[in-house]
Symmetry: D2
Subunit: 314 residues, 4 copies
């Protein structure tokens, strides 16, 4: 009880805390903790989440990503395919083993992605009080690297905000407030719980592959989680928050002059993972509001973000 109150107060950029207030720079999982809310991935919760599988339908939440996927500037990527040392020959061995390989050049924060706990900070201070000057080395993060995260498995909950607001697609600048989040869950008849992976559907991805694609609009702004919504989910203690937009939270921000405040509430202040560009539309169409959520991101040493493809099963 005290803890929850403390977390609520912690939703502030003030590093120096009043007596009695929770100091967000100290993780509830101890000074050595590297994985934050992934500590909530207990066998009990995983087992309970697995029991949500009733139809066996598999949902691939990672959209297809390529060099034309809208990206936060100056991020870009390319994939190049080559056939090493197989010119005018039949490859290796007398069994003619030929093969293709591929090279990736670019940024890991493009398309469907997880923001590791080393991604977002409050004035250079990150989860568990780590200062970027201490751990954000050019050769890779020495703390909070995504390789520390074994994966995320838990109960997934979809909140279909387009349906909740009664629109085909939620507009940019629309903030999901705490009241909206609660009301959407209630309307769907689904309870939000500690340890959940909460995904928001806005149908924003229709701007990429719908009838009238508008990638420029897609990347210029977005609907998404508001500050009170983020505070509510942080209080609740969810494991991850995802959305079908490039930045998960509302852009432009509710309060002029603020930028990515929900990121700060979730990540540095509460150790909660953020999942972006999650294609939740099939889940929404099926009214699949509860499911087993499984994410196994590549464990690149020292990485900040990672292109992902979480799997929902129900």
């Amino acid at each position: 009880m005290k803890l929850i109150a403390g977390l609520a107060l912690a939703a502030s950029t003030c590093l120096a805390q009043a007596d009695g207030a929770h100091d967000w720079t100290k993780s509830r999982w101890g000074p050595d903790d590297q994985i934050g809310s992934a500590n909530l991935m207990t066998p009990e919760r995983v087992k309970a989440a697995s029991s949500l599988v009733t139809t066996g339908k598999v949902y691939s939440l990672g959209m297809i990503v390529g060099s034309d996927t809208p990206a936060f500037p100056p991020r870009s990527l390319s994939v190049t395919v080559l056939q090493p040392n197989q010119i005018s020959n039949s490859g290796l061995g007398n069994n003619a083993f030929t093969y293709n390989d591929d090279i990736f050049m670019g940024w890991l924060g493009i398309g469907p992605q997880i923001d590791g706990l080393g991604h977002a900070g409050v004035d250079h201070v990150y989860y568990n009080g780590h200062k970027d000057s201490d751990f954000a080395k050019a050769a890779g993060l020495t703390e909070l690297g995504l390789h520390n995260l074994p994966g995320l498995v838990g109960r997934g909950v979809l909140l279909d905000m387009a349906k909740f607001y009664g629109v085909d697609m939620v507009e940019e600048g629309k903030a999901y407030t705490a009241d909206d989040v609660k009301a959407a869950a209630a309307k769907q008849g689904v309870e939000l719980r500690e340890g959940d992976v909460v995904l928001f559907n806005s149908n924003w991805m229709n701007l990429l592959d719908g009838a009238n694609p508008d990638p420029k609009r897609f990347g210029a702004a977005e609907p998404g989680l508001g500050v009170s919504g983020a505070e509510y989910l942080a209080e609740l203690g969810v494991m991850a928050v995802g959305a079908d937009t490039w930045g998960m939270e509302v852009v432009p921000a509710e309060k002029e002059g603020e930028a990515f405040r929900a990121h700060q509430i979730l990540q540095p202040e509460n150790g909660i993972y953020i999942l972006e560009n999650m294609d939740t539309r099939e889940l929404a169409k099926d009214e699949a509001y509860e499911f087993l959520f499984v994410l196994g991101q590549a464990r690149l040493k020292g990485a900040v973000q990672m292109i992902i493809n979480p799997i929902a099963i129900r």
Copy 2:
């Protein structure tokens, strides 16, 4: 019955087939099929696999991968962390949003990886008869790209070959024959079935992080699946075959002059996925021989391989 016989015969590099024999260049899932054995991922099988979750324990099968991970030459990779446009400032907004980003330069076939169906061929012919000259474009695969694969979810089976052979670590050059595979399964009391993801444990990764690491030996050769073992698993119709080695199959090959013949049997000839550098040791230690296997690889457009971290849950 007829199909199985046909598949057995198909285990040959001969492209021109005798009358009546199965022509492996034609997929059993039709001429337009892009995903091969992933077609076996039916709701029924997924549901059944989910019921294998009994303890809720989560296993992260993707080893941590970095620039020092042994790689098939000339593959290499690097991760670079940077703070775009945040020099001597407090980032974005009056809430001081600071952030780290990262860049990846290198090959996607390093460390824990999935070989997509565009990776391995027989004399320039790949799964479903695609010729590399037609689809292996420098800008990305136009057929068989890994973006087509939604993910792999199914029943995972671990065969602990180190335990089966009664050794701490299986030696390089040791081939898992069809008889060995069957006997290992029988000894463990586990049945291999169509649609399974079969993982082999040899403890070969002890050479990377054990008491006496020897990365050079790790990369120079390996124990692994033999030709008859691959034929058996292909006949059975498994969905994927993985191992705790860099190349999954035995190196050097059983027959002198051959190279990666098991890759050919599984991939081009039968559309079966290959998973390499899977850290199966914890599963082996727990004698976790059956489990829910979930892989969601990043869906990079046109990619051949991908660094992965499959999740096993039991």
Copy 3:
């Protein structure tokens, strides 16, 4: 005399030569030669070229190149600037040494470039008879790599084809024939000699930075050297041929069905270097038809091409 006749005959794609004909797969500089026409860079010629400096004016022939520079697909590039390990600090030492670094990801054949002798071949055969399967390894060329080339210094000659044809900008598809080349030189009163670096000006770059930029047209086709022009320059024994276009030679080709035939005449068949995207407009404006030409390309081991900035001095 005999040699020149031989070279003329060699301008054929026929690998098997009639008796008495010159076999272009054997370099005139011997079987071990790696640098072709750069052998013409004798002290005498260099000294003579240096004497062409009369005004001391320096011309930078390498256009500025960035991610928006038109490139032969699927080539692309990016430059990323970062400040390694200098977050919220004053860098290294008590003297506060701060610094920027940069990363390049992309292809070396973009913008102003030299084609090394390992770039262009005739049906997989390259300069001095090297087969690509033997030397074009994924980890870098093992023969003909650009690191072998110390640089190119010599007499530069500009042929202003726009002026010769009496147009502001030469149109795409216009081929410089042997007769045109000779006539243009004669009109300018400049003699072409063995060992020269011959540069062609068409003002094609006006499509990039002129009053009405049209980068699409720039990259879609181009005016340039024709087959007879290439044969003539090869007979003459020039050291390098450059132009203010992305591909140096005329596109589309004079003869339907041919592609980059002038490249083959110059490179594999005669060991002559090709320079592309050379900004020759200032030289043309100044009627600077003879000058000291100095190119020092970065000597990257095993590289095929290189982004360059040759210097002309007169």
Copy 4:
């Protein structure tokens, strides 16, 4: 006279200047100047330098650079060669145009390199008073980018410090003082002048390719320019300073706690270019103390550094 005195005083890290002192954050070439000492590249000097060519011998000062070249951590590079879309075919056209291409992934500050004026700063302040937060954008430098530099042409002077000190190879930690520089020039009978490109030879590169290579020692420290030497050259107004070491200046620094102070004196405070890993040994062997120096670095937009191969001609 006044100017020179001012420059001497400017050799201080103090940003706030006493009345009357020269303020190094204001370039002598005006507030809009982007190229610093390259302004000294006048036609007169270029013409005079060209007259130094007497033998026509060409020296390639850029050492060969590859993935095994010692680099300042965490810099690395790779070159990958591929044959785009030429599998089992004869390339483009009925003339069978086959070709190799190459990809570079890595840092531009490796091997023989030029430090652009955007490289080295004093507590985040760079040449002409630019603050890194203003111009050092992730997508490329918006001020002081190396693309602004047309090249460097001028009188090159070699000071053979190994010969001057009477040793085969100068040891690490040996600082070239102002007196040493003057005495070495005098001993060689060569005068140092404004606008010169001054190169120092120590034979340090013998550690890379000599009889007993020791790349670790090569990269761990180095002999080089000391603080007084840098101040002297800055007063003199040279155009560039180069050396046959990875960092040009002495490491470890003369004064404990200082790091790359000579870089600061030359670059931000005086706009002088720095050239590293210049292979000066052949010049030294030939006692070629005066020569025409020509550098044309690739003009990558927004780049900080560049791998180069300057040409010396005498």
